[in-house]
Assembly symmetry: D3
């Protein structure tokens, strides 16, 4: 018997063989996910909560093939205050520090228009509230509240190192690109307890959405040079590196090239770190096969 609360992340009404419906669900808390099934009164119950709601679930747990599910007797939405957020999602760690570091790195931008553009975001409290609690993704990398800031800090440090190592890279442009490259994810993903793609996100993608946000701010900055706008927009549009990865143009300037590479490096290393941590938790030295990168990852436990 179980009586606990979760975030509801999936809810499917399906036909029963003999007529009527049953309700399949997936619940999530900070320890993982579990399936649930409810047989009686499924249509009515399904109306009582939405995906992303925190729900109280009572039922019995059974298992098959090593996976567990709850035979649900009752599922009810809770209100704020009836649950403890920390039970449901890993609390962001260090986000305040990371945000402070990101601010201080961005503030080293010299070019006045880029500096003003970045400031217009960083001084916008509403933006910062959303930015600092956002995940950079649904699952793959930096997929936790605060993940987007952590990702940007890593990239900003890599950007600064790159400018010291390579000649002829425009540091200001690159740093502005780092701050702004993924801000479309604030709207592409639902960014709450259940991070998932929004309808707008699926239809437009974060490249377009982010550029829209940037252009709106640029339009309010008097005298923002056309050439500079072009350079920046190109970096943002090209930061996925190739058409196959969803950029409508490939990097054609050095800054666009570097931005793509440091984004990829930060994302891949973070994904490896997460996979290695999960694998070690299971006491293994090799991860399960990871379809996205078509390999198992090694923890180096010999």
């Amino acid at each position: 018997m179980i009586d606990d609360y979760f975030v509801a992340v999936r809810k499917d009404l399906r036909d029963q063989q003999g007529g009527g419906k049953f309700l399949g669900m997936v619940f999530k808390d900070r320890t993982g996910e579990i399936g649930g099934i409810l047989w009686n009164n499924a249509v009515a119950v399904a109306r009582q909560f939405e995906l992303g709601d925190v729900v109280s679930v009572r039922g019995t747990v059974s298992s098959y093939q090593g996976r567990l599910q709850i035979r649900v007797e009752r599922v009810l939405p809770l209100r704020d205050g009836e649950y403890n957020l920390d039970d449901l999602a890993a609390a962001p760690e260090n986000t305040a520090e990371y945000l402070a570091e990101l601010r201080s790195l961005i503030e080293t931008i010299q070019e006045p228009h880029l500096a003003e553009l970045c400031r217009s975001f960083l001084s916008d409290e509403g933006f910062i509230a959303r930015f600092s609690s956002a995940a950079a993704g649904k699952k793959w990398h930096h997929a936790f509240p605060g993940g987007l800031v952590a990702h940007c800090v890593e990239m900003a440090r890599l950007a600064i190192a790159s400018c010291e190592i390579f000649e002829g890279v425009d540091r200001d442009l690159l740093l502005a690109g780092v701050l702004l490259h993924d801000i479309g994810k604030l709207d592409e993903l639902s960014q709450g307890l259940m991070v998932d793609y929004t309808t707008r996100g699926k239809l437009l993608g974060h490249l377009h959405m982010g550029i829209d946000m940037v252009q709106e701010r640029i339009n309010q900055i008097a005298g923002f040079p056309d050439g500079l706008r072009l350079e920046l927009l190109h970096c943002l549009l090209a930061h996925h590196g190739s058409l196959e990865n969803g950029s409508p143009v490939v990097p054609k300037s050095t800054e666009a090239l570097v931005l793509y590479h440091i984004d990829d490096l930060s994302a891949q290393v973070n994904a490896f770190s997460r996979i290695i941590a999960e694998t070690r938790d299971r006491g293994e030295s090799w991860s399960d096969y990871v379809p996205l990168i078509e390999r198992q990852v090694w923890t180096k436990g010999h």
Copy 2:
């Protein structure tokens, strides 16, 4: 000996072996292209004209491997009035008619916001002047002044046929998509005597540029519904059909799917028609191998 005028479409200063520079050029008129080379005073001469200028060329023609070139003695830019445009580029045919038909088809849009959006373009004389003289491409399909209008008319007719044949396709949305899908090409291509990609075009691409133009107009229409804006922008962003072809999102609505297909059909049929016409002109029944589509095209002359 030749003494004629052309559009200058290529101009390369290169090192001579023994020091100094020579100037390689390509000239174009309505009959085709020819290379040119100039040995004396190359740096100074190169400064006297820009790509896209109409130039007077004097020199002697020689050939090798069946290709001709001019050993140039003199090349000078001409001013308007010193040449006849019809010698330089095929005059647009039927563009006025096509434009009228396109207008009348677009005017059948019922949804008031889409209708107003389209009207705001079609009633803008500056836009119409550029739109009606634009090519839809540099070489492949509808690559002539007026080609963009011709392409849109074909698509509008296909759109209307599709709405009659398939249930559940939103005719108004599809027609608006037809009118607006390629307007970014007005800026992506130089659209003059020498149609080539502009710097902005290479860095941003016509998808982004066109959407920018559309959003600017939508923002001036009071009460334009958010959902409708989303549907339209998705159609425009997805009209290349796949990431590989440069759309950052793939078609996810029926209208986006149909828009992509009728764009492709119009483009491919036009390209085949051009290739077949060129092949017949040469008295052949099979075209040369066309790398872009990896085949020879057949004129059906058995």
Copy 3:
């Protein structure tokens, strides 16, 4: 407890751990599919019915992870008359009307040999009986009895529209291509209650099988011009558009190109429509992820 009839669409004898066999089955009726398992006397029972048979099934239903299965106690084949076809498969709708329209469109073919070729099919009652009840596919598009006719009507309308829109497309050839392009599916698929690929279909494919049927008829038409035969066969062989999609030659004539495009357009729009309808039935605005097209489809419910 369940006691109902179904089409048997899968039947697997598998080893029991302790020796002996058990029988896994899948049953289907017009509402969907359900798995079944039978423990006793499995080998003997498996001999009593074939895939595609209508069978009476008695047993108890249980579920796991939201999927149902029948613990089967008895399964027996039924004879015609012991069941109602409408319970097992969605009845074809409008097929008679669609067939009539297709006939009338095909009858507009002027070229006498193509006209005679098409007539030889359309006046063959045996052919028509099979053609009019055939599905165009197993699952993806027009996958219901009468689906092939519906698909051909859509294409015929698109063909006629295309001939009006594009110059230089041979209307007669294109319409003949529409009628004949998929007739190999009559034998490639089992086309009964259980539509599945036949052994011949898997080994030869509907392109080859259809062309065989066409050549047989052409051979009976005196004076069918060689060039015309070549044009038609090319359209049929190339109608999948690329080697990767199973055409041994790519479209090299305008008619082959158009035939490929309108086939694809009709198929994709139909598949989207089916997915959208299924998604709305489930009360969702986004379909499940569709692996074949690597995306979710949007119903436009905002």
Copy 4:
């Protein structure tokens, strides 16, 4: 000054800049190819010979970038008897022996229907005349008169070895597949002094053309079993091994699999041998880069 005869393998009328046409040509004899250009009276001269004709050419040779061309003064077709075939193409070597071996291997087929089918080809003098002088390709492998027989003999030997090495391969079926797999090339290629794809070949491909020839013969053999026909046709249709390589179905039986592999092995080894021989002739130990296989080939001269 040159005055010699060649096969004319290319003939292009092109526009001269100042009006009129010139004629670009390519000529070939057993030592290789050379370009030619003719300035005067080009249209009339172009009418006097066809591609594939043996022509007498008079002119002066010049060069550029290490390639030669003839400035042609006169080009005239010759009649049989006015030239020596051995000057124009490498004479087939050993074809009679190879054909005898192929016959004797095919005659070991036991299955009576397959034996009769093969006999119907091998006893057809017209077929043998064409078969024994055919090339297996335009350039890549066994691209010389008699090449098709040489290719089939290599494959027959590999087939027999494979049947001894692997259990469960149907020797008769495989040998019949070897004899018949490429007979469509008799019509796909022009198979004369100038081997090039025919119009039928480009539109239908040798898979379809060969199968047509096979089916016609099978239809004349009483009692040819349906299953056997299916097995054979599958082998023939699948012998390119994958859709990308132009087979509309992939190998699904062991014989089809083996046929594909031994075809590929014979072709690749022959191509390597030719490349190695050409490279050694030039005194090199590494061939030029070969785009088709994306590598240089090594002669093993260290």
Copy 5:
């Protein structure tokens, strides 16, 4: 109730919903695999055996969706002598004969250095013990003890046939390549009751590991010619045929090309044979869909 012994091939500790762990396992014997689950005392039990151990298992069998699992009550490792190997894995057949044949074929190598190199392996009892009991793979082809020898014999026969059929192939080099091409698999795979990739195998791959073994032996042979070493190493490195398949260089000599082809042929035919045998065992004429080769395989039972 079941009480039997198996090889343990999977062992996963997972979190129970209410805290604590459960243990998911997979067991294997010569008849196949079965899952197991253990609820009590999972952490302690998991420590008592390793993957690859032979274990005694007691529990109750249940099923769902046609798949079985054991609810495990007790699982204990056994010692040698407490079980019969023949119950756990198919005994190698004919390996002694195959090995003798392989030896005799390899002994026909004339080139003294290659002969000595091969002898140094074949006369090494430790090597032979491991080589003769190795599988050539985990699942796909020759995946049984002795499979590697069987694979090499097939290839040696094909190599000899190829040298008779094709001119200019170095028989000694090719035979040495056959013997040595896959010896890295002795360490890449665990090669016991549970054949799986080792950590070294996953990190280095059998190409590198095998070449290392070969180089070590070559270094002990006085006067082994540099050029010959290069030829041999190239054959070994290139034997997967393409970069995509894991060779860091593509075949550039004829021997490397032939080695790749006969390896592939032997592997594919063996995989087909296995699939066909399994399919016939199930009484079917078509295999299940095989994702690796993207097709169903046909047994030719019509």
Copy 6:
């Protein structure tokens, strides 16, 4: 008339039409390349010099289509001292400084075995002489004497930055990987005045060749841990990142992943820098189309 010296980088004996041979050549000095052709006595002349020789060339320069060639009258090899190296190739810049920095970074490695391994290379004067004058490639990136050191320094800096930014990356392992990843290029490329792939390089590739060099040194270090050797070899084998790019295994540890990324970043940025510099030299703001990366590169000159 020209009378100058060059490196001979290409030398092709080709057939003259009328019998005899001519000699096509390519010559190179620090300003670029030029073709040459010699008509008389070609076979004898071709024997007098080898590729890579510095040769004195006398002849007359002509041009076609903007490309120059020398009609060569005399070509003779020179001896050391008869020419000035600086005329033939850009002198390495800063290599001594870069080498010193690389040494000092590598000397920070703490792990004693890795430290000793690196020291064994860096203290080997013969190695250092070759290493410090090597190019990292033939054309694409760091393709100049000293380029390999410059590339390794960039990577070492990126490695150190990465270790500061990302947790859990083994700094010693990564730095050793940086030093050793490309040392195979010392033998893969001819590394003299004419950098080209050697026969060994083409047959084995620099991955294998470098690993061989590393293993030889590891074998001389007492007590080098097996696990560490495995980690290092994996980094080296996997540093191309994917099978398609020539690594036989993909990166499976974090260090291998980071090594791949920083190698790629250094290479791409260097290639962009070279292309941008060349483009600016020509007075252009867009490079020519670069096939390897399928794009034009932008210099940001608006």
